[in-house]
Symmetry: C2
Subunit: 575 residues, 2 copies
Amino acid sequence: MKDRIFRVNMTNLFTSIEEVPAAWAALGGRGLTSEIVAAEVDPSCHPLGASNKLVFAPGLLSGTVAANSGRLSCGAKSPLTGTIKESNAGGTAAQMLARLGCKALVIEGKPQEDKWYSLHVTPQGVTISEETELVGKGNFQVVDTVHSRLGQQHGVITIGPAGEMLLLAANISVKDPDGKLRSHGRGGLGAVMGSKRIKFIAIDPADSTIPLADPETFKKASRTFAKALLEHPVSQTLGEYGTDILINVVNEAGALPTRNFTKGQFEGHDAISGETMHELIKKRGGKVKHFCHKGCVIQCSQVYNDKNGKYLTSGFEYESIWAMGADCCVDDLDIIAEADHLMDDIGIDTIETSVAMGVAMEAGILDFGNGKEALRILREEVAKGTPLGRIIGCGAGTVGKTFGVTRVPVVKNQAIPAYDPRAVKGIGITYATSTMGADHTAGYTIATNLLNSGGHVDPLSKQGQVELSRNLQIATAAVDSTGMCIFTAFAILDDERCLPALVDMINARFGTSLTADDVTALGKRILKTERQFNMQAGFTSAHDRLPEFFSLEAVSPHNATWDFSGREIDEFWDF
Amino acid sequence: MKDRIFRVNMTNLFTSIEEVPAAWAALGGRGLTSEIVAAEVDPSCHPLGASNKLVFAPGLLSGTVAANSGRLSCGAKSPLTGTIKESNAGGTAAQMLARLGCKALVIEGKPQEDKWYSLHVTPQGVTISEETELVGKGNFQVVDTVHSRLGQQHGVITIGPAGEMLLLAANISVKDPDGKLRSHGRGGLGAVMGSKRIKFIAIDPADSTIPLADPETFKKASRTFAKALLEHPVSQTLGEYGTDILINVVNEAGALPTRNFTKGQFEGHDAISGETMHELIKKRGGKVKHFCHKGCVIQCSQVYNDKNGKYLTSGFEYESIWAMGADCCVDDLDIIAEADHLMDDIGIDTIETSVAMGVAMEAGILDFGNGKEALRILREEVAKGTPLGRIIGCGAGTVGKTFGVTRVPVVKNQAIPAYDPRAVKGIGITYATSTMGADHTAGYTIATNLLNSGGHVDPLSKQGQVELSRNLQIATAAVDSTGMCIFTAFAILDDERCLPALVDMINARFGTSLTADDVTALGKRILKTERQFNMQAGFTSAHDRLPEFFSLEAVSPHNATWDFSGREIDEFWDF
């Protein structure tokens, strides 16, 4: 099936299918969403107005049998940061869209009437229906209802009450193979979907397979790639313990932000660690390994049950556990799991919301460590859109502004995730310079700073961090265009078979003859396109900075401060 | 008495008196506050952190007998806008500080302990005392208590609960000759004072008079200046009807923003007009004329009583009446007066807070026109710092973000005041380009667009507006440095005796030989210093724009839209 652009105009409720412009043919995932947003969205527009566009794009390899290639990119101008945004998620939607020949789904405009809608993506295009039953309902009910209306095989992309209420931390959730959820978590893209009054998008299951220009080469490269992934020790650890294995690693490194970024180690780290989670899952009958999309050979997800053996949450990630755990001083994995499930159902970013909760604790709204009150706030305030719920649901920056807190860990108004930039300086460069606001996935220097993947760069020294972050951000922008999961990066960094196999797969899919240099060039082009959008939206190098408190306050145990000058940070963009 | 700089360090609770550096000798008011903030404050600092400084400076002529010269400038990095900020107020403090030889009071640092303080400015310098009794109390109680502690003659600069709670719309109030309040209203400077944990500043009454280099020339120029002010018809109208006379004028022009900037005329305009206020005051036994500082010959203030003849409010301004009136569709002057008094007591900007209330009405938090609910929200939510109170008390931008409203009338996050920029395009250029965020006083084109002062420029045409705003902003920056009230501008624009007399007074005060050209040069220098600070803080020409909705939505009755291109606006800075 030939790839095409599916376009939906929510102002006049008109849909169309378009040829792919030549300039977009070689793009997918983040490369394509950023290119479309940069080409079609006025950088000065209100992110929740009719001029913004919400773009979904499967990666270049999504829908093929390539291992771990099922990531879906979602892009728009972010209402949280005001920057361009790409957030990618697992789940089944990328593979399904790709098999329908949907290279990108572009949603534009805004309905005039006070009504809600759903979209249905089929091989013939997109149909728009009015939706009434599911308005105000949680994400899990949306999935269940789509299952009963259309069948279990349909894909689902959905927003919860947070997206409907246009909260700035609202995410967009994507159904996984078990009917659970993965999320386009960051940047408030759920509010953009909500502003377009789309409650959910159902995707027809297609029988078709992705056409390959050179099936034999593809098959060979795909095997090499999967083997490299499988053999990498980080892949194996992630499969066994999930991403939460990082709790003890990062705590040991003194870089686990604790008590709203006032300490680098959490006394309760053992209680929330990957090792503890692994034991609890085994004891309670969950699943240690679980995938977010078919073809994943790492399987870092898991199914986590409560003490009665009843399902509590899945896709229970390090970042979410750190944020509600160490950052809020909650040392109870069951409470964190319940919070995780609630946030998934409400449809709100676990990182942004939990870091906001940490700032709220500093403001005295609730006590550090009071997980039960955090649960109550999620259930009774955020989910219902009370004023306090809206403050917290609009993220850490909003809590800081409304309560006059000066220790607010955000860059470009997006919450800083689970690695203290004073103790892992490479990730600080990524937070500062990412076109997305603070985002660890944009250039995951933790790989090299702490996990010795791709060599080693001393996390506490300034030496080499800018170059490390630059190289990783360029590579990541390219990898985010392929549909590959970020955890392929370890193998790509360490196993010399891996990158050539990835390039071979792309060439064999499209009949191109790209080289590794082209991949680097693609990454650079994406970053520059995104930065150009941001500059037109009013961002300057003055925004490529960490909050003042990281320079003023040393963090234990290393007594480290953030000591990069503006000029040193700005060297990032010298490429 | 020789002018000196009084400096207070709230980190170590140390105070000092310093010589005036030569570079600052010729500066006063806004020229001096902006120069000091630009020189001493890191543009990237957190506005509520220890690195920000709060600077008070009387104008160059404050303390002399020059008519209308008693304005006090207050400057800092604004927590509301993130820009440099100067906000000036009437009241007795400027004249008193000037007579104490205090050219500027610079407050820096931030206490380590969770305590509140007061400052006492005397001829010997500043003393710092811990304050407990008045913490949490309203501004009027602060004034009464200072009166009883120190005597009626002391000057008072104070913050209310809003400033203590660090709300972004918190103002700083200054006692007037009757013990009522005038305000440094805009930009959240009350939160900066609150962050430094200063509840109030008491000022010793000094007997000393300001030394004059050439008393005879001063006397003569001062008489000419006062005469020109007195004879100008706008001065006379302002004295008779107050600034509220503008309600009918601006409504007639179709430029009175109504129902959160969706219409240009308010059906209830008569009920809230200056003419109606004048009749009510006469009937109820208030004062039609009232001054905010001695030596004012215009006396645009008034004392407004309730229907039982009991004092309700004073300094009851057009902007406040418009904002809670037309913008919120409240057509009851008594309710608006009560809101005005409440906001004065809470210590919060009437423009920002009432425009925020209008956005809250659009969000459905309360109904348009429901003044009683607005009063309840002020009294029970804003004053008490509930989550809803904090949202509204942090201004229109915060309400818009937390409730997902796209029609949010702000520039650089500061609420647009009482003239629709689509129907008076000159003021739109001022809103867009002012270094302060949306601010009518920065370059009051209404004078020429609607009142035919300084000629006439058609308010609905783009022609000539950039030049008009530029000339007025340059002149205003200079006039804001003299301590002169903005209402001297009408005489300065129309009466050829006026500007030379103003220059003569400055020369006669300081023994200088400035010309009118030097005044223009000073205005330009101030604007450029302020803009430089803003650019270092991350602002670009992309921020010199009105919100998108002004371009997308036509406003009745003229069916006018905002139609300036970015390039046309940016010509403002061509000087």
